[in-house]
């Protein structure tokens, strides 16, 4: 198979870290990534199938990893070298079009009995992701044994496979995985009718969070914080009531909620009052800091974007008794439905295809990653690899 492999290399990691801060354009060249011909991954056991990816997205977590910004917290539950790519639409050997639910939990790992989280259906919270018949990995795309979406072949357990309805084109189906994350985040937040919600960041995760909010809750006003023009337009198209820029977000939320604005002697201002629920979707520490400052007392701040190590003033969490909720992946929601099924249903109701802004063949991975790194500024949302392209 042809694939992009991410390997362990301390010098390249250091070079990536440096390039990420100084010359991001060099990242694809210095990162420990290599495109080449590799052996197809073997089927690890019973219930595993081969999948030929058609489109595979470049996710923020992939970019954080490439830039050396990913938290080492995850190091025990990844196995190198691996083929990245966990946002995947592809085909089984019999031609069935499927998307992959990438979490590699107890069932896929052949672990019996499954852990308590898996027994509940909360596969994202599986505690055995370093055990079983395959190498440690929290997801496909971080596992030495399974391959990933950035290769022409991967293997997946049947518990990970979801058939894609004909009405959902590949360009929308490749977004079902991040949409499922957004659905889970929104359902985690338990948004009450008419609550004012802020979605911070309008990349893929932010926009899909807006979709989930609009269709799965009775939220009141939805304010999207979007930096770039395309993001702003998509946010409105997908259901945001207002779009504001990051530099005006605090005052806009103040105005919308009638809160009081307090100007600190140092640091950013904060609101007395504010949004009921805030979804931080960019993974940016500064944006999270703002979210903590603009959410009302006992409001909820949901971490949707992957945060890294950061210095953040937690005084607002303490002072305003905020509930800070993590929202990692998916599983089975409170209503008993699998998150992926909800996401697939949504993908049939909402036109997600326009969010895929560019497709690249694997051989042009450097351009693809460079594009994805700067997607917002380049008026793009999602950049994907087109595995069928030459």
């Amino acid at each position: 198979m042809i694939a992009i492999e991410f390997s362990r290399s301390v010098p390249r990691y250091a070079a990536s870290k440096l390039a990420g801060r100084t010359t991001p354009g060099l990242l694809p060249f210095v990162a420990p990534l290599r495109v080449g011909h590799y052996d197809d991954p073997e089927l690890p056991g019973e219930g595993w199938v081969r999948v030929a990816p058609a489109l595979s997205g470049i996710c923020g977590s992939d970019l954080a990893m490439i830039a050396g910004d990913a938290s080492f917290y995850f190091s025990p539950i990844i196995s190198m070298p691996f083929v990245p790519g966990h946002e995947v639409v592809g085909r089984l050997d019999d031609g069935t079009r499927v998307v992959i639910e990438p979490v590699l939990a107890c069932t896929a790992r052949g672990i019996e009995p499954v852990c308590a989280a898996c027994a509940r259906g909360d596969v994202g919270l599986c505690v055995r992701t370093a055990h079983g018949i395959i190498a440690p990995a929290l997801q496909t795309g971080f596992c030495e044994d399974t391959g990933g979406g950035w290769g022409t072949v991967l293997v997946a357990h049947e518990s990970q496979i979801h058939r894609v309805p004909d009405a959902v084109p590949d360009e929308a189906a490749v977004l079902i995985e991040p949409l499922a994350c957004a659905v889970h985040a929104v359902l985690r937040a338990n948004v009450a009718p008419d609550e004012l919600v802020v979605v911070s960041g309008a990349g893929t995760m932010g926009l899909l969070t807006i979709v989930a909010l609009k269709h799965l809750t009775n939220a009141g006003r939805i304010i999207a914080v979007a930096k770039h023009g395309r993001q702003q337009r998509e946010a409105i198209r997908l259901g945001a009531d207002d779009v504001v820029t990051p530099d005006t977000a605090t005052r806009a939320v103040r105005l919308a909620t009638g809160a009081h604005l307090h100007t600190a002697e140092m640091g950013d201002p904060w609101l007395g009052g504010g949004a009921d629920v805030t979804f931080e979707c960019s993974g940016n520490a500064g944006a999270l800091d703002t979210c903590l400052r603009i959410t009302r007392g006992r409001g909820r701040v949901v971490l949707v974007g992957l945060p890294g190590a950061a210095k953040i003033d937690l005084a607002p969490v303490w002072h305003r008794e905020l509930d800070v909720l993590g929202a990692y992946t998916y599983g089975t929601e409170a209503n008993g439905q699998r998150t992926f099924d909800i996401a697939i249903g949504l993908a049939q109701r909402v036109d997600l295809s326009p969010l895929v802004s560019a497709k690249y063949p694997l051989t042009r991975y450097a351009e693809a990653i460079d594009h994805a790194m700067d997607a917002g500024r380049l008026d793009s949302v999602k950049v994907v690899f087109d595995l069928g392209a030459k």
Partner: protein, 529 residues
């Protein structure tokens, strides 16, 4: 010997005409206008009254259509004296401020009459509160020390304990007023009438009024129907204020004292700003070069401090007291004597420079919304009969329009710019969609009452002031403006005056007639179409 004061002048430029001065925010620029353009210069300052204190004393002793003030004062009465706020004159005048002289006379009479219950209230309406230092400068040390802070204060239009609903006019306009003023046996209003828009019945119901009252005339419909604000007979705004004023006058004894000033707006070395360029001496030219170069290089804060430290050497040209309408008629005569310049015919293009100061940014920065208010609200409307520019014509303004706001004075302006103008620049849409929210916002209300912030609704009024110009003009171009800011405001920018005139040709053709309003100093073109 009396100082000579030449009338205003309409100069037609030719190739020999030197470049003309444009105010340009916190600096100035010289621009060469095409031959055949007209420059309308203000009249020179009238000679001031030699002994203002005597004139004031005479005015209150022999008022118009009213008993002398002395006869209205008696022991045991409740006397309230309302004073125009810091929004005028512009620039603030050299001390003693005319209001100080009037106050001292009124208070002397009150003391002689044995009036103990006296309260002085700054009629700031929905403007920001004046600071202690600003009030001290305005009323003078003696008055300040005697009355501050218990008997001398700003009006708080959001204080439920100091606001009273008086009733509605025959047009259904709600009149809500400062309770202390309304419950007084006598309300004396001390005014400075800088331009024809000020004073008269606009003083009490507006200066001591609340949002509930002001919204009846400070709205898009009324301001679109005010042509112009400087021509009260043709101003729906003034008609409404007059109805409220008469309604109040039936219920409250109001003794109006109005003063007029000449237009000596700039002291030396800035007096070149008031001169006609073709009469600039070498010293004037050198001063211009020095001042502009200096201002350009100064840090923002220092530049603003320097400019806002300029105090105008205004002189009193008239003082009249008594019944409001009788007084105001005299006041307007006085004003017109100083301000009116006859202009024949309108032009395709009107040009004007927007200065560093306006009524709402004294000791502050002129933010983009205030720039619009100055240019399209005040300067465009600075006319009697007809605008200087023809219907569908082009207004070219010079101002750098930085995105600069004073967060203490203008908090709601920031949100107005970021949120409201991002949505729409149409005054009617803005009024309908956002005005109530801003007017009733608790944070703005809190800042208005306890800090030095303009009321939450104030930026809306600034925008409405410009509604008539927006409706009337074919295009508005800012020379040297910040592109992003001007785009947000809904207008266009040009790098140079020549570019702006070229751009205007899309609207008014390739051979446009041009008239430059050489202002400030303030004056009033009376235009015969």
């Amino acid at each position: 010997m009396a100082r000579s004061s030449r009338p205003g002048l309409v100069l037609e430029t030719d190739r020999r005409t030197p470049p003309v001065l444009f105010h340009n925010g916190e600096n100035f620029r010289l621009e060469k206008l095409p031959s055949g353009s007209r420059i309308v210069y203000p009249p020179e300052p009238l000679e001031g009254i030699k002994h203002p204190e005597d004139a004031i004393a005479r005015a209150v002793e022999a008022p118009n259509n009213a008993d002398p003030l002395r006869a209205k004062l008696r022991p045991g009465m409740k006397l309230t004296i309302a004073i125009d706020d810091i929004s005028l004159p512009l620039p603030p005048m050299q001390t003693p401020d005319t209001r100080q002289l009037v106050l001292e006379r009124v208070l002397t009479l009150a003391a002689e009459a044995g009036v103990d219950d006296v309260e002085l209230i700054v009629a700031n309406s929905l403007h920001r509160r004046m600071t202690e230092a600003e009030i001290r400068r305005m009323v003078g040390e003696r008055v300040f020390r005697s009355f501050w802070p218990d008997r001398l204060r700003n009006f708080d239009a959001e204080d439920p304990d100091d606001v009273v609903f008086v009733g509605t006019t025959e047009h259904g306009e709600e009149v809500e007023l400062c309770k202390r003023a309304f419950e007084s046996d006598l309300l004396v209003y001390v005014n400075i009438n800088l331009v024809a828009m000020d004073g008269g019945h606009k003083s009490v119901p507006v200066g001591l009024g609340t949002y509930r009252s002001l919204r009846h005339h400070h709205n898009v419909r009324t301001l679109l129907d005010s042509k112009s604000y400087m021509h009260p007979e043709r101003s729906a705004l003034h008609h409404s204020a007059s109805r409220m004023g008469r309604f109040l006058a039936d219920k409250l004894d109001i003794f109006t004292i109005e003063t007029t000033l000449n237009n000596a707006s700039f002291p030396s070395p800035y007096d070149f700003l008031s001169k006609r360029e073709f009469e600039w001496s070498l010293r004037d030219q050198a001063t211009y070069l020095g001042v502009t170069a200096g201002l350009k290089r100064m840090p923002d804060q220092l530049r603003q401090k320097l400019l806002h430290g300029i105090a105008a050497p205004y002189e009193l040209t008239g003082v009249h007291a008594g019944e409001t309408e009788a007084v105001h008629a005299r006041t307007l005569e006085n004003l017109h004597r100083q301000h009116v310049v006859q202009v024949q015919g309108q032009s395709d293009i009107m040009t004007c420079g927007v200065p560093y100061i306006g009524p709402y940014n004294v000791n502050s920065v002129m933010n983009p919304i205030l720039v619009v208010c100055m240019g399209l609200g005040y300067f465009f409307n600075l006319y009697r009969n007809a605008p200087l520019v023809r219907p569908g014509g082009v207004l070219i303004l010079t101002h750098p329009t930085p995105k600069a706001f004073n967060p203490v004075h203008h908090p709601s302006y920031i949100d107005f710019f970021d949120v409201v103008l991002a949505d729409s620049t149409d005054p009617k849409v803005i009024e309908e969609k956002y005005e109530k929210q801003f007017a009733e916002d608790e944070w703005y209300r809190h800042l208005y009452r306890t800090s030095y912030s303009y009321h939450g609704v104030h930026p809306f009024y600034m925008w409405y002031w410009a509604a008539h110009a927006m409706d009337y003009l074919g295009d508005v171009i800012f020379v040297g403006g910040d592109r992003e800011v001007v785009r947000r405001l809904g207008f266009r920018t040009a790098s140079t005056m020549a570019d702006a005139i070229e751009m205007a040709s899309d609207t008014v053709g390739r051979q446009p007639s041009i008239t430059h309003l050489h202002c400030p100093p303030l004056f009033l073109p009376e235009v015969t179409p």
